[in-house]
């Protein structure tokens, strides 16, 4: 225990109160200093650095509005849809709470995507911040589960059939698939049991995990310190008399006032959507979801909500044809390794064996029609690709081999790589909203190849080109 501090009887009432608490609960004061008043963040944060605190804001909004929604929502297949309409019509200001929650779901993904892209352009996942990035990726994954399960709760047509389609994906897994999807649903079709368990996960289980991960994310960040647009370590730079980095500035009050300004601007956009376009053209609230779930009536076109569509597109891109293309890429990659590397014959032989096993599983020999050579259906690989498209983000700290962190000092064409990556992500997202079409399928296949090429070839391309010298200290112009 810390030393008990006596305070002068002439001190102000506030100082006495603070001292009283400090003697009895020093942890709170230490936490305040560690994370707010004496957490030194680089001075040169730009626009991109608003989205971390905005994600926190949206998380709090979702929890608070969610608590109020549960006061009138009924997780019962016969009553769920009606209870949402009850909230929208009969509960005073219920419509506002509901629109805040439904718009908040989309806003969460908007700010999280921008937050992740910031990490990508400034190399914020590079050493020593790998763990910050891993916690962040875990948050993203858990957030996807949270959003998916929450989307079932209004019990509209899109809720119901979206869940049906996604849970059915698990049945593509060989051997255990059908049992697994039945286990998730708790029934042969999506039904009351599914709704109840999704409610339980959505309102308590997943939010608890989410909060724990957010705490880990922030603690890990404050231990290693924030990155910045220059990718320069401020802790390695010059320090003042107290050993504080000269290029840093206390988070509170400087970045709290900065973030409040960001919050104000964000809230203008957020509330404009809530009050003037809560459906946002059918992207935030889908039109079909205003029809109660009907297990006997399949909608013509089922699509997930916009924030899942890039991955959904990649799932749909994996056709039998695409598996032949992937098999060819595998063969070429193995040939490249055999010709270009100096591994021993045994290693190369083993590599060929593994490759052949994969070709068999990829159903590359399926065209022969021989029963024994039949591999696994493309549908399963679609699920694998969709999962891999998210999981691959976890590996980013070890895929990026660029000698500098920030895009500012990387070759010009690296900026183009990132720009095309974003365009690719948008195109995949757009195609995922649309009904399947032959042209769309081809484009999404190219898009999928680029998406994975961007990451898997990163150890190679991120080293190439002419890098600019990184300055000793951050670039910062006084205000």
């Amino acid at each position: 225990m810390a030393e008990f501090k006596e305070i002068s009887p002439n001190a102000t009432a506030t100082a006495k109160l603070v001292n009283w608490f400090d003697n009895r609960f020093p942890t709170a004061g230490a936490a305040y200093r560690d994370h707010m008043s004496e957490y030194y963040a680089p001075k040169n944060f730009n626009f991109w650095y608003f989205f971390g605190s905005l994600a926190m804001l949206v998380l709090v909004l979702q929890i608070v509005t969610g608590i109020f929604l549960t006061m009138h929502y009924k997780p019962d297949a016969a009553a769920a849809f009606g209870s949402v309409e009850y909230i929208m019509r009969d509960v005073p200001w219920g419509w506002l709470i509901r629109y805040m929650h439904s718009t908040g779901a989309s806003a969460f993904f908007v700010v999280v995507y921008l937050h992740m892209y910031r990490g990508l352009i400034y190399g914020s996942y590079r050493k020593p911040r790998e763990l910050v990035w891993l916690f962040g990726c875990a948050i993203f994954l858990v957030l996807m589960a949270e959003a998916f399960m929450g989307y079932l709760l209004p019990w509209g047509q899109m809720s119901y059939w979206g869940a049906q389609v996604i849970i059915n994906l698990f049945s593509a897994i060989p051997f255990i698939g059908p049992d697994l999807s039945e286990w998730i649903r708790g029934d042969y079709v999506v039904g009351d049991a599914t709704l109840n368990r999704f409610f339980a996960f959505h309102v308590i289980a997943v939010p608890l995990v989410l909060l724990g991960l957010v705490v880990a994310h922030i603690f890990a960040l404050h231990d290693v310190g924030s990155n910045n647009p220059d990718g320069v370590e401020i802790k390695a730079g010059p320090k003042d008399a107290n050993g504080k980095p000269l290029d840093g500035i206390p988070f509170h009050p400087y970045y709290t006032v900065h973030d409040i300004f960001g919050v104000a601007v964000f809230l203008m956009v957020f509330t404009a959507i809530i009050f003037f376009a809560p459906e946002l053209g059918g992207y935030f609230l889908e039109y079909n979801n205003f029809i109660p779930a009907d297990p006997l009536k399949t909608p013509l076109h089922i699509a997930p909500v916009w924030y899942f569509t890039p991955y959904y597109s990649m799932l749909r891109a994996i056709t039998t044809e695409m598996m032949y293309a992937l098999s060819l890429i595998l063969v070429l990659a193995v040939l490249f390794v055999i010709v270009k590397t100096r591994a021993s014959g045994a290693v190369k032989g083993l590599l060929v064996l593994v490759a052949v096993a994969f070709l068999w599983m990829f159903n590359a020999f399926g065209f022969t029609g021989v029963g024994l050579l039949q591999g696994i259906d493309a549908k399963f690989w679609g699920v694998v690709v969709m999962g891999a498209s998210v999981v691959i983000l976890f590996f980013l700290p070890w895929l990026d081999k660029s000698p500098v962190k920030s895009i500012r000092y990387r070759p010009g064409w690296h900026k183009w790589m990132l720009a095309v990556f974003i365009v690719d992500f948008f195109v995949l997202g757009y195609l995922g909203v649309q009904p399947p079409s032959p042209a769309g399928e081809r484009i999404s296949q190219l898009g999928t190849l680029f998406y994975f090429g961007f990451f898997l070839l990163m150890p190679w391309w991120s080293r190439l080109g002419e890098f600019k010298p990184v300055p000793e200290r951050i670039t910062f112009a006084a205000h």
């Binding site: 006032v257 509330t271 109660p292």
Partner: protein
């Protein structure tokens, strides 16, 4: 890289273009905006209760919510309550759902949210309903004797036919890109209705306005509150901007 982006964007254009060309049904007419026109909404409510509520329910809509469009509880009780005697009740259909299923082949859908759920690429749900209720035509091939231009083989007969009269669409065949296509040309009135075509359009406009209001009764106050919220945030943003600048002035 630029080339790649241009190619991707061009490809996107092809996909969307193909999608737009795929819509070969009748384009939806723009529904008039009646959300702030209380007499029109009241007239729409009257038409709704008289013509729709016999078979369709509005299970999430309470009769006494009609006070929001300027009716008193006594007026609602005296003029609009047929299926119940309590103004706090929701709008239930007069028909027995089992019978309805037997007669029309499907249960008539609940109409509370129909103006929201029917939105799509062609326009808003109100546009759809405004077009749908004005494009019924005589079709002897159908069991009900009626068919519809935007909802082919619709199960519902033309409930408003007394008002509109009986009509038949006129088509002309044209050569387009080497194909023969049937193009809708206009209507032929077979027998007159109680209303003139202009009166009928106005009545359907009122009814659709009511359906649109009923789908989200809070929508007018939502927009009004939103204006104040944004005005507040506008001022708040200026304050936070200056506050931030004051703190960072000497950094």
């Amino acid at each position: 890289m630029k080339k790649l982006i241009i190619t991707l964007i061009a490809a996107l254009g092809i996909v969307t273009g193909a999608h737009a060309a795929g819509a070969d049904t009748l384009a939806w007419d723009k529904a008039p905006n009646k959300l702030n026109d209380l007499p029109a909404l009241q007239n729409g409510a009257k038409l709704f209760v008289n013509y729709c509520l016999s078979c369709h329910s509005a299970a999430f809509m309470r009769f006494n919510r009609l006070r929001d469009i300027g009716l008193t509880e006594q007026q609602i009780k005296d003029n609009l309550l047929f299926s119940t005697d309590k103004v706090g009740e929701t709008m239930k259909a007069a028909i027995d759902p089992k019978q309805a299923k037997e007669w029309f082949g499907a249960n008539p859908p609940d109409l509370t949210l129909i103006a929201r759920s029917r939105s799509g690429h062609g326009g808003t749900g109100a546009d759809y309903l405004y077009t749908y209720l004005r494009t019924y035509y005589r079709d002897p091939a159908k069991a009900t004797g009626w068919n519809n231009m935007v909802f082919p083989n619709v199960g519902m007969p033309h409930v408003l036919w007394e008002l509109q009269g009986e009509r038949e669409p006129q088509f002309e065949t044209r050569q387009e890109n080497g194909h023969e296509v049937k193009v809708f040309k206009g209507w032929k009135q077979l027998s007159p209705g109680i209303m003139t075509p202009l009166q009928y359009d106005a009545a359907v406009g009122d009814l659709v306005g009511y359906l649109q209001w009923m789908a989200e009764p809070a929508q007018n106050s939502r927009v009004r509150v939103g204006v104040w919220v944004l005005l507040f945030l506008g001022v708040f943003t200026i304050f936070t901007w200056r506050l931030n600048a004051a703190f960072w002035k000497n950094i």
